[in-house]
């Protein structure tokens, strides 16, 4: 248990580094999505620095676990963990969204090492994950495919097509994670287009559902373990989060969905992330 406490502490420290990288990148880029990056940071940090099997020096290693960022607009978070994980030098993060950079505004699997799928058009990542999971089953591979979706994103009908598919083909090697930060571009999800009852919906689609506090490292790790052990059906982790988590003036602010901080805001944010 001492060991676990240390793991959690290290991951929390890592998450702070990742949040700082996100703020810095977005400031340098001058545009991008703060809120959804920060709400998913703890989950994605736990995945990349504790849970996933991968080899940065061999990105195509066939046995690796796959992570699909279905909510592609949060790609700065993915770039930050990939750089921290050793896929490419951290110094390159400041080229985000700039011409000639391998760090596109939304994930491009052909340009960035470690990016598993090109996403950005919402609602498509879970289908891609289904295909990879199905291929893995056919080849008797033991990898797991993780897909991170936004709570606004699941308003896309294709998500539910994929949810049906994963259940029908018993894809227990898929774990969907929903960043339930309760906000989308135009406002709160419950005002724009309600997605509740969320747990019942996924249950009705045949999925195992685990609900957690998406900022509690211990709960995140437990959920990922449980999800991996589930047999015969896919698992969805509904992670209750705070959009903009970690930066006081961004937290729960719909305006910070698709905005980058200016110099002053970035400095203030960084001062809170120490």
């Amino acid at each position: 248990m001492v060991n676990r406490a240390k793991i959690i502490k290290d991951l929390q420290k890592k998450a702070r580094i990742i949040r700082r990288d996100i703020i810095q990148m977005l400031y340098e880029a001058g545009s991008g999505h703060c809120g959804g990056c920060l709400s998913s940071t703890d989950i994605v940090t736990a995945l990349y620095f504790h849970h996933l099997c991968y080899k940065p020096d061999n990105p195509d290693w066939p046995e690796r676990d796959r992570f699909i960022l279905s909510k592609g607009h949060c790609v700065p978070l993915l770039y930050a963990v990939l750089a921290e994980g050793g896929y490419f030098p951290k110094g390159e993060l400041k080229t985000l969204r700039k011409i000639g950079s391998h760090l596109q505004g939304h994930p491009d699997m052909r340009k960035t090492k470690g990016v598993e799928a090109s996403t950005g058009s919402l609602g498509q990542g879970l289908s891609i994950a289904c295909g990879i999971a199905l291929g893995g089953k056919m080849d008797k591979k033991s990898y797991t495919v993780y897909a991170l979706l936004g709570d606004g994103e699941i308003q896309e009908g294709q998500v539910w097509e994929a949810a049906m598919f994963a259940n029908h083909y018993h894809l227990d090697n898929i774990v969907a994670i929903i960043d339930r930060n309760r906000l989308q571009v135009d406002g709160p999800t419950n005002k724009i287009m309600t997605i509740e009852p969320l747990v019942d919906k996924w249950k009705a689609f045949g999925w195992k559902v685990i609900t957690i506090d998406g900022h509690d490292m211990s709960q995140i790790l437990d959920a990922l373990e449980k999800a991996k052990e589930t047999k015969d059906r896919p698992t969805v982790v509904i992670a209750n989060t705070i959009k903009g988590k970690g930066v006081s003036f961004m937290e729960n602010q719909v305006n910070w969905h698709g905005k980058a901080p200016n110099k002053e805001e970035a400095e203030k944010a960084l001062s809170e992330l120490t």
Partner: protein
């Protein structure tokens, strides 16, 4: 007479035997697309996605990322319109090795009517970067196209038909993606066609022959990348070009040919195709007749364009 979809069903089974990586996806129309044949032979490599074309394209993308060669099939209108964003962003943009083979292209779908007829699929697929577009002329060419598609690593759209169509190629006819075939020589006018209109063009060429007009006929089975060299060559060798396609005259083969002609070698040009209108329910032959996708229309158009050239300088310039 044989439908290209029937040939597709057979080709898939043959491919399935020789290539273990071939997997097939369908969206609840496997009887009609003929992928059912593959499903029966290789149940472990066939996945019905139900009525969910968008998800099917995403699953195909994912399967390709594991080294499989997915064939995703449904009707042309659903493959290219319903699932367009998925095809564009998830398959074409990352250049994934997915083969989209759609049946029920054109108006020869017949009785099901405009909701199931596809007039714009070639235009749509052609406009997407990285996408290759093939429209085989008959059953024999379909088999070749399907088998060749596996040798190319990247996204391909193959448009097939529902109706039975005449055989115009034979097993020795060459087929290479992007290389069109001259299937009849002539030096007055060139008819460029794809799909079922190749047979119709050959018929038109025979009618023209009776009037002393020698028509060259080109089977342009690859719409993209279009065979630019051959278009320039036939534009030099003949006085005018007529394009015939079972597709809207906006954006399809006619447009592709016109782009080359306008840019490289301005040439008198006419189109035979759907005149920017939806069709209706009816028998394939009735619909083709009503919308002028016939040998007689091609003959009329050919005559007209040649007549308009009388005394025109452009003829001299070319030789």
């Amino acid at each position: 007479m044989k439908s290209t979809r029937d040939a597709y069903g057979e080709a898939l089974v043959e491919l399935g035997k020789s290539n273990k990586n071939v997997v097939v996806l369908d969206a609840d129309v496997s009887k009609a697309t003929r992928t059912k044949k593959f499903a029966e032979q290789f149940p472990g490599r066939f996945f019905n996605c139900g009525c969910a074309e968008q998800n099917m394209m995403g699953v195909a993308a994912g399967l390709s990322l594991t080294g499989k060669i997915p064939f995703a099939s449904t009707f042309a209108v659903f493959a290219t319109c319903r699932a367009l964003d998925q095809v564009r962003n998830t398959i074409a943009y990352p250049r994934l090795n997915v083969k989209i083979v759609a049946t029920h292209g054109g108006i020869t779908v017949g009785a099901d009517g405009p909701s199931h007829q596809s007039l714009e699929d070639m235009a749509i697929m052609r406009a997407i970067p990285n996408m290759i577009v093939i429209v085989p002329a008959d059953a024999i060419e379909t088999k070749k196209a399907v088998k060749e598609s596996v040798k190319y690593e990247g996204p391909i759209y193959i448009r097939l038909g529902r109706a039975e169509v005449p055989i115009v190629t034979n097993k020795d006819s060459p087929f290479a993606i992007g290389e069109a075939n001259v299937i009849q020589e002539g030096d007055d006018i060139t008819i460029i066609a794809c799909g079922i209109m190749v047979a119709v063009s050959l018929e038109a060429a025979q009618l023209l022959e009776k009037e002393g007009i020698k028509a060259k006929v080109v089977n342009m089975h690859t719409i993209k990348p279009i065979d630019e060299d051959l278009i320039i060559k036939v534009a030099r060798e003949t006085k005018a070009i007529v394009v015939a396609e079972e597709h809207n005259i906006i954006g399809g083969l006619g447009s592709a040919v016109a782009e080359i002609l306008c840019n490289k070698i301005p040439t008198p040009f006419e189109q035979v195709g759907m005149r920017d209108t939806f069709a209706e329910s009816g028998k394939p032959e009735e619909l083709l007749a009503k919308h002028g996708l016939t040998a007689n229309t091609i003959v009329d158009v050919a005559r007209k364009v040649l007549k308009s050239l009388k005394g025109c300088l452009i003829i001299e310039k070319k030789s």
